[in-house]
């Protein structure tokens, strides 16, 4: 359950806190300077008295005066430091002097000065020389040198330059407060993948070890469901988030909520490929390789109807606006009503997954490497485009806002492709997780569908930021491969189903104690009574779910 930000941790650990008196003095003087710049002189005085540190502006302001007055001789006398700095300083001041002389059209003196200048910096001197000979291009030349036109501005700039050159002693106060903030902000924006997300409001932290947007990642395990009869291959939230439908390798279906857990063993004779809830969460549909679609009542877990019209494996289900869509190896997509009546058939290829948005019907083809996009009207005969891939598409998911599609193309190398559903262009490739020949579900999540989430062979859950290709977060989910991830947008919960026969729920908030729920085997003979016991603990984090539960009850 760790949030990895190794780089930040290392950096922070290597920085030692400097609380020497010089540093403290420096801090006070920075504050003093900022206050005096803002005009809060009284506050300045009080701080000076209390902290016994003076900003010592007198010497500085005298120096500033000399600069603004162009009193260059005086300046050079006052500031006498190392040779290197002296030379540079001298050059800068002489350059300013030169410009002023040219301005006054004192060309003889100017040329003399120019000779001295060219000894130090040949390139700039050439530009300066043009000043004399091409006075019309003056403004252009100023721009080239990076010097403002106005004399006062020039002198001020020279003053700043000088300060930058001298970085010790009383003149070390070039680290102005707002400069510090600007520079650290720039640093953070470059470094932190979260900072770059322009969608969020600009509440940036400047610290290296900040946890910027990672609060959006549900990294805390709140509930563990254990006691499944085998590897859990599908685990899905219902639309309201109150129920979870799971399917295991032994072809059992579990319908789980806070209060009750129900198991339907041997729901099908062969692998269960898909589970969907109806829009009102009253029905759960399952599709299997045994060519049947079963419909169960969620509350009682009793089977209501079986649809056997398919003559080959049914690979996928989707529910949209009170209609069930089913697709598989047959080559046609069935549209059904809740009572099991087949109302329409659409010709298609072998379909691995059906995704529906308000605008489109997306068919994830199993045999050809593409997604067919069909207009979502009642006829479904208008093909808009094909989204082509180079290799087999393993799983697919659409974001909540219906703008994006993510495809798991992990036959050769594990990676995810992000597509836009507006432009039908491939946007990003994400990799870093592991796959060894088994299907891993990927999904979108978080409030603005910012993240793409996928489980991995090593049991970790990977989150990628959709807007920013840097890998964001990895959490240690399980110790065996994670087959299915489902992120419920409204309740902000993540569900992970794994080969280790458990299902976990993850939330953003901190969890005091993990709640463990053992799945009761109601339709199987329990071997010992302990298996039937449901362990419930008082946990404040679950209030959110309780609220959801009560909403669900009202709708019934």
């Amino acid at each position: 359950m760790q949030v990895y930000d190794n780089l930040a941790l290392q950096e922070v650990q290597s920085i030692s806190i400097d609380d020497s008196p010089e540093r403290l003095k420096e801090i006070v003087r920075m504050i003093l300077q900022e206050l005096s710049q803002m005009g809060y002189d009284d506050a300045c005085k009080i701080l000076e008295d209390e902290s016994q540190t003076k900003l010592d502006t007198t010497q500085m302001s005298e120096l500033k005066e000399s600069f603004l007055n162009g009193d260059y001789e005086n300046i050079l006398q006052q500031l006498d430091f190392s040779d290197m700095i002296n030379r540079k300083l001298q050059y800068e001041i002489q350059k300013q002097l030169y410009l002023e002389i040219v301005q006054q059209r004192n060309y003889e003196q100017a040329v003399n000065l120019l000779r001295q200048l060219s000894e130090f910096n040949e390139q700039e001197s050439q530009v300066l020389a043009k000043m004399i000979f091409l006075p019309e291009d003056a403004s252009q030349l100023y721009v080239q040198l990076g010097i403002p036109m106005d004399q006062r501005e020039q002198r001020l700039q020279l003053y700043q330059k000088t300060l930058n050159l001298l970085n010790f002693g009383d003149f070390s106060l070039k680290t102005q407060f707002d400069k510090v903030i600007d520079q650290s902000l720039e640093y953070q924006i470059k470094r932190c993948p979260y900072h770059n997300d322009s969608n969020e409001n600009k509440n940036y932290s400047l610290l290296i070890d900040h946890n910027c947007q990672s609060y959006q990642i549900p990294k805390n395990n709140s509930i563990l469901f254990q006691g499944f009869d085998d590897e859990v291959w599908i685990a899905k939230f219902s639309n309201s988030g109150t129920w979870i439908g799971c399917a295991t390798k032994k072809n059992s279906i579990y319908i789980i909520s806070k209060e009750q857990q129900q198991k339907i063993s041997k729901a099908h004779q062969m692998d269960i490929n898909s589970l969907v809830f109806s829009s009102d969460d009253k029905l759960l549909f399952s599709a299997s390789n045994d060519k049947k679609i079963n419909c169960y009542d969620v509350q009682t877990a009793q089977i209501k109807v079986t649809m056997s019209q398919h003559t080959n494996e049914v690979l996928c289900l989707a529910y949209f606006k009170n209609q069930l869509f089913s697709g598989g190896v047959d080559g046609w997509i069935g549209i059904w009503q809740d009572n099991g009546k087949l109302v329409n058939q659409i010709k298609s290829k072998v379909v691995k997954n059906i995704l529906l948005t308000d605008q489109y019907l997306l068919l994830h083809n199993a045999a050809i490497f593409s997604i067919t996009v069909i207009e979502n009207d009642s006829k479904f005969n208008k093909i808009i485009t094909h989204m082509e891939e180079q290799e087999l598409i393993v799983s697919s998911a659409v974001s909540q806002n219906q703008q994006f599609l993510v495809l798991n193309v992990s036959k050769e190398k594990p990676k995810l492709h992000l597509w836009s559903l507006k432009t039908f262009q491939k946007l990003h490739v994400f990799f870093g997780f592991q796959v060894k020949g088994i299907e891993m579900k990927c999904c979108f999540g978080s409030k603005k569908d910012n993240y793409v989430c996928v489980g991995s062979q090593d049991g970790k859950v990977y989150f990628f930021n959709k807007n920013n290709q840097l890998q964001q977060n990895v959490i240690d989910g399980h110790n065996q491969p994670i087959n299915f991830v489902d992120w419920h947008s409204q309740t902000a919960q993540l569900l992970t189903a794994s080969d280790d026969k458990t299902v976990k729920i993850w939330i953003q908030d901190h969890v005091e104690q993990q709640q463990i729920i053992n799945i009761a085997n109601e339709y199987d003979q329990p071997i010992n009574s302990q298996q039937g016991e449901i362990v419930e603990e008082q946990d404040d984090q679950e209030d959110e779910e309780y609220q959801q539960q009560s909403e669900g009850d009202q709708s019934f």
Binding site: V350, I368, V394, K411, I438, E439, P481, D499
Partner: protein, 112 residues
């Protein structure tokens, strides 16, 4: 182990594994019905899907010396045929790279 990634064929006349029903090959890919394996009749296919191969061995078959690999179904891990890697007789070279699936292990679906 999780649900294994499977490929599928579009269209009709597909041969599937008799035990786990995953797609192996199709009618288009079938070159000859005139082969015999340990369990009876066998078909020669150009290519197939959802299988992996075992160790390559040099064997003496009815038609001569060949280098072959076992073909194993991905779903149930049963040996369902073999793949020709190399044929030592000129007349048998056409088989190289193709697979033999024994009829005993496959079924037909979507056959009209």
């Amino acid at each position: 182990m999780g649900k294994i990634i499977l490929e599928y064929f579009d269209g009709d006349r597909i041969y599937v594994c008799s035990k786990c029903h995953i797609h192996i090959s199709n009618y288009k890919s079938r070159i000859s019905k005139n082969f015999r394996g340990g369990f009876g009749q066998a078909f020669l296919f150009e290519k197939g899907i959802n299988y992996h191969v075992g160790q390559s061995e040099v064997k003496d078959l009815m038609t001569g010396k060949h280098t072959v690999q076992d073909v194993i179904c991905n779903g149930c891990n049963k040996v369902i045929g073999w793949k020709y890697i190399k044929a030592y007789r000129e007349s048998e070279k056409y088989k190289e790279g193709k697979i033999i699936i024994e009829r005993h292990f496959i079924r037909r679906i979507k056959w009209n």
